[in-house]
């Protein structure tokens, strides 16, 4: 097994929305950031991976096994965190541990205790009294405590303050130290992905627009700031998208090194994932 996740030509049709031939991989040992605006298809893709929705076509392999035939076996080794807390208000952490011990074969109660301590989650309070940050930390502690090989995180850091987010990112970094482990993290807080992702997969209106190593993206792409006149000189294959503002043009270029060579006087800035996203969604071709 080289890929923890391998999706090929995933299709899903809703009345007003489609996933169109979504294909991407999560190589073993890596963190893949799955980005896109709200409603772009991130959650639908993740739900299809987990068989929460029925797909209309395509194959999905998790941990080298087909999700339709080996569902139960796969789910023993996958930890999932969704947007929000899915445990009932009146439970305490001890109740959750008891209950999950008879759901997961390799539930590790000691490990769970360890994470509860690390996250400073109280044992004597019911979940209703937890803050949003505490609830998300609880979900993450649960996702890690059955010793999974793959973590699937759907907006696990959204709505959290920067301190809690960093605390959580640290735990993910610790998890990924083991080469057998992999993470797929969907988020629209792209600064988190700037920090931890190895690959970026960008989905827009149900289609994958971009699937690339993060370092390659950030080192190659750039933003060229120029006048309209200069912009007209560019060949169409030299840029990906452009945005016009009042006084100038901002152009997302594929190879900033090549552009620099060709137009030595040009001003080209580096780029963040957020800017790439904005260019793709709001820019013009």
């Amino acid at each position: 097994m080289i890929n923890a996740i391998e999706i090929k030509n995933l299709n899903k049709n809703y009345q007003d929305f489609q996933l169109k031939d979504v294909s991407f991989k999560v190589p073993k040992g890596s963190i893949v950031g799955f980005i896109g605006e709200n409603g772009a298809g991130k959650t639908t893709t993740i739900k299809a991976m987990l068989n929460l929705v029925k797909r209309d076509g395509g194959t999905i392999e998790l941990l080298g096994m087909d999700t339709l035939t080996d569902e139960k076996k796969i789910k023993e080794s996958v930890g999932v965190v969704m947007d929000g807390c899915n445990f009932h208000d009146n439970l305490k952490t001890g109740d959750i541990s008891k209950m999950l011990a008879s759901i997961y074969k390799n539930w590790n109660a000691q490990l769970f205790q360890h994470y509860l301590k690390e996250f400073k989650l109280p044992e004597n309070k019911i979940i209703k009294e937890f803050s949003r940050g505490m609830k998300m930390k609880l979900q993450i502690a649960v996702a890690l405590s059955h010793e999974p090989k793959l973590l699937i995180l759907d907006e696990a850091t959204s709505g959290l303050d920067p301190i809690v987010r960093e605390e959580i990112l640290d735990v993910f970094m610790e998890f990924i130290q083991d080469e057998e482990h992999s993470i797929l993290i969907s988020s629209h807080i792209t600064s988190d992905l700037d920090k931890i992702a190895d690959y970026i997969v960008f989905i827009h209106q149900g289609e994958i627009l971009l699937d690339e190593e993060k370092e390659t993206l950030l080192s190659q792409m750039g933003v060229l700031k120029c006048s309209e006149e200069d912009f007209r000189k560019l060949e169409s294959n030299e840029y990906i998208r452009y945005r016009k503002n009042q006084f100038s043009f901002e152009v997302l270029v594929k190879e900033k090194a090549a552009i620099r060579k060709k137009y030595p006087e040009a001003v080209i800035d580096g780029i963040t994932i957020e800017e790439i996203m904005l260019f793709y969604v709001r820019g013009q071709k």
Binding site: K47, V53, K72, C85, N86, N90, D95, S102, I103
Partner: protein
Amino acid sequence: MKGLILKDLLNLKSTFKMLGVMMVFFAVVFLPQGNGFIFGMIILMFAMMVVTTISYDDLAKWDAYALTMPVTRKEMVLSKYLVMVILNTLGAVLSLAVGIVGSIIMGKSFDLEILAIVGVIYLVALIFGSVIIPLIYKFGTEKARLLLVLCALIPTALILLVEQLGVSLPTIGNPWIYLIALIGFSVVGVVLSYLISVKIYSEKEF
């Protein structure tokens, strides 16, 4: 699957406590009057709890999350039916206990009629659960509650109509026939209801 059942029972912990207080209250009020109504009360209160567990699940968006765990959709449904049977049985046992303790306190011998009442209500509660669980899976808890009221009204209306028209029901001398028919009817009902629920639940998208 044990974990799923445990989850429901843990969730009902506070409800159990409240119910305990209510039970004592009803027992004190109604038992001295020799009123059999309390036995039905207790069982039905327990029978309603399976609906409560499903609304709790909805609130927490539990089902979608649970299905990311090594739990099949069949097991999700089966666990609900087992919870229903456990709760109903608990209700029946408790109402029998109330009946026995009541008889002792009142200095009467235990009336076999109580056993019959409890047994019949127990079976009716199972049928009630078998009707509502598939309705909930299909329409959600809120709509299902309304539909259940309809389900209760239609047979009642029919019975009233039959009575109004003065049709005489055939009388069978042996009450055992009624009992066996009722047992058969509930068993078939529960099994059929489970199969329908599994069918609905496997088609569901989250």
